[in-house]
Amino acid sequence: MRGLLTIAHLTVHEARRRKILLAMLILGLAFLSLFATGFHFINKSLEAEKKMPPQQRRFVLSNAVLAGFYAVNFLMIMTAVLTPVDTVSGEIDSGVIQTLATKPIHRSEILLGKWLGFFIVLLMYLTLMIGGILLVVRIIGKFVPPNVGTGVSLMLLEGTLLLTLSIAGGTRLSTITNGVMVFGLYGLAFIGGWMEQIGTLVGNSTTRYIGILASLVVPSESLWQLAAYHMQPPLMRDLHLTPFSPASVPSHFMVIWAAAYTAVALGIALWQFQKRNL
């Protein structure tokens, strides 16, 4: 356990020392400034419309917030996949892993330590971005989106799933192949998710099932859709007013599936790393 925590510490320290955290902070603040500026002007024009019913104002603000969350979701996916993409394969190739793996710690501690370290980095990023958005919309528009806790937890699960895939890929594949594979899988889930939505809207069950099947292969996009579903006013999602209002709401089974999927991917990663020649 001590070895695991030391490796996790080393991983977070690496992100800090190699200025990954700094880049996240600077670009995150740039993102939030842009979002705050846009949100300020949207809010201002809404306030100028004296006759607008409060419900309609809420819809527009909600849409802006969901657009922000959607962008954060995408950035979080990039962060989850890219930060650990070479942590295993790169250290095996360079030989850096040799001095770690000959210390009196289990190989599983190395892998889980890295996983925990990158999870902490992801959590810090998500906290900064989602926290920033919530702060901006609260201060500027006095607006609080519903079910943020549930929504953000689902996004975090989505990030964790992709992070785990990226680490697992590195125990077997080269860095580039691993990156291509994880983004490729994410792409499958992404288009599958949209097929499911459009298929449902036009009433074509074949397209819908193809989409659900893709979501079973990689459940990341379903988690985002479920998160977006929870973080908008009920009327808005029932009327499908925005691209963030899913026509086909992923079931709660998908959450269990995604969690199990992550656990199995981590298990495979541990097994692969255990038997690998370093």
């Binding site: 030391t6 690496e14 360079s94 001095t99 000959t102 210390k103 009196p104 038997k275 020649n277 370093l278």
Partner: protein, 305 residues
């Protein structure tokens, strides 16, 4: 055997079609400096990696510090400096030693003291707080050596420890090996720098195509002298008499050749021959260098790796 730190029998590693190590059988005793010699591509690094648990053998048996390969507890008593000495170079030298000390489960106070001691020993006190990507190759190797010594190991693996070092650096490594031997630490030295091995090691094993082709205790070999004599006349009685001084004498182009156990035998031989009225036209002695032994063992078929 309780006094062995490494014992292997028929250790083999196959990567697909390629056999990296075909049959590694050797033993290393507690407290000795053991040289592991062989050409590049001869399976030396794969052998070390198997002994350290980095690579799983395809077959064979082995024990390191009386435990199976890769045993966690045994690893706590082992130090290792890998061949390419690539480390997390975004750390400073001091941080690097700190992290690795924690991986050895060392407590923070003794660890801090040990780090200072080692930084001074490998002459990196000035550079301790600089990031390692600014280090020269020699500095990286020295900090790597300090890392391998953190836990005061019972068994130290050095994979080509002086290949990146200037003469002063080599001297430092040589001195450290000497100190370790005095403290009773066994050193497994993987090298193709024969001069280095000749100075540092007690015993050597020659590996060729992943097989130990010869083991020899070094000090015995070091004292051996090849003697070449030109005599007149050479009788079977003289040859039989000469065999009392060492190995069996051989006749070659009118010269007698034999191997004796030390230089002190030379005047004895001369005296014995003169007393018997044998004319001595030439008495030459050569000591076999490790290089000669190496080339003899590796044979003509071994091309530069």
């Amino acid at each position: 055997m309780a006094d062995c730190v490494i014992e292997t029998r028929g250790l083999r590693k196959q990567f697909g079609e390629k056999t990296a190590v075909s049959d590694l059988t050797l033993s290393v005793r507690r407290g000795e400096v053991f040289g592991f010699l062989g050409p590049n591509g001869g399976g030396k690094t794969t052998s070390i990696k198997m002994l350290l648990g980095l690579v799983k053998p395809t077959s064979g048996e082995a024990q390191v510090l009386s435990a199976p390969l890769g045993d966690i507890k045994a690893r706590g008593k082992i130090g290792f400096l890998p061949e390419h000495f690539r480390f997390h170079d975004w750390l400073t030298g001091r941080e690097f030693l700190g992290f690795h000390g924690r991986l050895y489960h060392m407590e923070s106070n003794p660890l801090a003291a040990r780090i200072e001691e080692l930084l001074a020993r490998v002459d990196l006190m000035d550079a301790a707080d600089r990031k390692m990507h600014e280090y020269s190759k020699g500095m990286l190797q020295r900090i790597g050596l300090a890392q391998a010594l953190l836990n005061e190991p019972e068994l130290l693996f050095l994979d080509e420890p002086t290949s990146g070092l200037d003469p002063l650096g080599r001297l430092l490594v040589r001195d450290i090996i000497k100190e370790l031997r005095a403290q009773g630490t066994a050193v497994f030295l993987n090298s193709h720098l024969l001069g280095e091995v000749e100075i540092s090691c007690d015993r050597v094993a020659f590996v060729k195509k992943g097989r130990v082709v010869r083991e020899m205790a070094f000090h015995e070999q070091k004292d051996r002298v090849d003697v070449e004599l030109k005599l007149g006349p050479i009788t079977s009685e003289i040859l039989a008499g000469l065999s009392a001084f060492g190995g069996k004498p051989l006749l070659h182009n009118g010269h007698v050749r034999l191997q004796v156990s030390g230089e002190d035998k030379l005047p004895e031989i001369a005296c014995w021959l003169v007393n018997r009225g044998v004319k001595v036209y030439q008495l030459g002695a050569t000591r076999k260098s490790l290089e000669t032994v190496f080339l003899e063992i590796m044979g003509e078929d071994e091309r530069p790796g």
